[in-house]
């Protein structure tokens, strides 16, 4: 497809020599390169990736694995946590992509902000904070972006009910 990455079988565990990038395990997901960065080394490795030529951070988002914690195949040494922050980096000169996945525990959902490396992550980190409640340390403007300022809860979390519109119909319980 669109990715100029070496084709590899799903799951790096099958290959005899797992690829390592800046000390972090690299896996392949449907032929796309994914690097798993531990949270305590997040900014340091991101700085190295920026120096590697990934000048454009095209996307930053997150996933809440609350109800599918065991489902993900992760490389050895990476402990599955509830939240996962996912960045898609783009090297414009080399025409290559790299996906970064960082495990973020539910007990302390926070990560240092990548704003100083890619200023464009400012709005995306605000979005992740707004919808997942993951805070980004040293973010210049840690406020909600899509939901109203006084909103309670973080809608894209899996334990956030999707809600419903009350409908009136015959036989509806009284006192609503």
């Amino acid at each position: 497809m669109a990715d100029d990455t070496p084709a590899a079988a799903d799951g790096a565990a099958e290959s005899p020599e797992p690829e390592v990038l800046h000390g972090c395990p690299v896996t392949a997901s449907r032929g796309q390169r994914v690097v798993h960065i531990p949270r305590d080394r997040y900014l340091a490795v991101m700085k190295l990736l920026l120096a590697d030529g990934y000048h454009l951070c095209s996307d930053l988002t997150a996933t809440d694995y609350l109800t599918a914690l065991a489902a993900r195949p992760l490389p050895d040494g990476v402990v599955a946590e509830r939240f996962e922050v996912v960045l898609n980096l783009l090297d414009v000169l080399g025409a290559r992509r790299l996906r970064v996945r960082v495990q973020v525990p539910a007990a302390d959902p926070s990560l240092p902000s990548a704003f100083d490396l890619w200023p464009g992550t400012e709005a995306m980190e605000r979005e992740v904070f707004d919808l997942f409640g993951i805070t980004f340390r040293n973010h210049p403007d840690p406020s909600r972006i899509l939901m109203p300022e006084d909103w309670v809860g973080h809608p894209l979390r899996k334990d956030y009910d999707i809600g419903r519109i009350p409908v009136q119909f015959k036989g509806a319980p009284e006192g609503r």
Binding site: M1, N88, M124, I145
Partner: protein
């Protein structure tokens, strides 16, 4: 409902999202704020603040005004807060979210077959590109991305390019309107409507088609489609020549756009900008060329780049991209293969209607696909394609069921809109409209 239960009414519910006056902020907050507006790191902002300390305006010289969310030239419900000194814009903060309807959350409740109806409503000016990126992502997860029939691939390219034309034609209209060339608005809508008429004939709808689906397309091209496309290709080029006379060569138009909203290549990349904004700075980055998908490596076209990174370059790039799209469409007309318009995988695409009357198995597959949907193997995938506004990406996490566990659309407008404060700083408030217009945001996609 008793009023005592309600929280006290506030003037707005945005609170901390708003741009605060200088006296309400500490020096440190202001430093961060200016740094954030300029998208600088704190250290860089500090050195800038030192330089500017002498020339920093006092509170009574500046004024914070609100623009939008109902302003006609903010292209939907975009709200900007501008700090002005006289007519000069000092700080600017886009405030978004007025159109947020939780489409990513909704997407988790829809099956992969229904997902197309959801994503097509995000960037409502290029719905087919939204459907395309969603379908490509789902197909990659299913592992059938190499098995899509040739005709389906070329049909997707045809629709994608026509959609690029209709989107850019609408940009011509709104950009003209914002600059005061009101007749241009009517011309742009007129041409776009002709493209949409073709879409209506093919998909049944002018917008929100849900036509490109995982596995192929919803239907084959109707009889006589080739003549319709040829007619479009005859009608539009002379109209583009008229645009050149009306706008490109017109001194007032150039005065309004040239040297307005300038951004450099480094800044655009740091801000994550893609599409015409990045290309206007001279970076020839077009996913159709750099990371080809569909059969873009089989067709000839030029990537249009600018030089100065200003609003005029972005206008000229879009105008010429319409021409390049028509060039691609001509090649597609010559090379459109025959064959199936969707993959004949019974687990993914419904059986033809006629088969349902004859075959029990077809009836079962039809029923299963439209009630339960099809199951997608576990995994996660990100696919990015070139939409008229830049890189539109789709990130899907599947947990093996028929609904995506997480679906995220990387919306180009959402990222591009962050360039606004940077492009506007130091410019005139009258140029603010030109800058917004040149970014061409679609708020349905910004807020999702």
């Amino acid at each position: 409902m008793t009023s005592t239960l309600r929280p006290p009414t506030r003037l707005t519910d945005e609170g901390a999202q708003e741009l605060k006056p200088r006296h309400e902020q500490t020096a440190r907050e202001l430093l961060r704020e200016v740094g954030a507006v300029l998208r600088l790191s704190e250290a860089e902002a500090a050195t800038l603040a030192d330089e500017q300390a002498a020339s920093d305006p006092s509170e009574d010289q500046t004024m914070i005004i609100n623009m939008g969310p109902q302003h006609p030239s903010t292209h939907g419900v975009l709200r900007l807060m501008l700090e002005l000194q006289g007519e000069t814009v000092l700080r600017c903060k886009p405030i978004i979210g007025y159109l947020h309807t939780g489409m990513e959350k909704t997407g988790e409740a829809l099956t992969y077959l229904q997902g197309g109806t959801n994503v097509t409503r995000m960037d409502y000016l290029s719905p087919l590109n939204n459907e395309l990126v969603f379908s490509l992502a789902v197909e990659k997860l299913l592992g059938i991305d190499g098995d899509i029939p040739e005709r389906a691939v070329w049909m997707r390219m045809l629709l994608s390019e026509l959609n690029r034309m209709s989107s850019h034609l609408l940009f011509m209209a709104t950009n003209g309107m914002d600059m005061g060339a009101v007749s241009m608005m009517i011309y742009g809508w007129r041409e776009r409507e002709q493209v949409l008429r073709f879409f209506q004939k093919v998909t049944g709808l002018r917008m929100n088609h849900n036509f490109i689906r995982p596995g192929g397309l919803a239907a084959d091209l109707p009889a006589g489609w080739r003549d319709d496309v040829l007619e479009l290709l005859d009608v539009i080029p002379p109209r583009l020549e008229e645009y050149d006379i009306l706008m490109t060569e017109q001194p007032i138009w150039r005065e309004r756009l040239q040297d307005v909203g300038v951004i450099t290549a480094t800044e655009a990349m740091a801000l994550g900008a893609t599409g015409p904004i990045l290309r206007s700075t001279g970076v020839a980055w077009d996913l159709r060329r750099s990371m080809p998908y569909l059969r873009y490596d089989d067709v000839e076209f030029d990537v249009i780049v600018g030089t100065y990174g200003d609003a005029f370059d972005r206008y000229a790039i879009r105008l010429n991209e319409i021409r390049e799209s028509m060039r691609i469409v001509r090649q597609i007309l010559d090379r459109m293969p025959t064959g199936d318009y969707r993959i004949q995988d019974k687990k993914v695409t419904p059986p033809p209607r006629a088969r349902i009357d004859e075959s029990m198995e077809a009836l079962i597959h039809h029923f299963k696909i439209f009630t339960e949907g099809f199951k997608v193997p576990e995994g996660e995938v990100y696919v990015g394609i070139e939409s008229p506004r830049g890189e539109i990406g789709c990130y899907i996490v599947s947990d093996g069921t028929a609904n995506p566990y997480r679906i995220h659309i990387r919306a180009p407008s959402f990222v591009n809109i962050q360039c606004l404060p940077h492009m506007m700083r130091g410019g005139l408030v009258a140029d603010a409209v030109a800058v917004i217009s040149s970014v061409d945001p679609v708020l349905g996609e910004v807020d999702r």
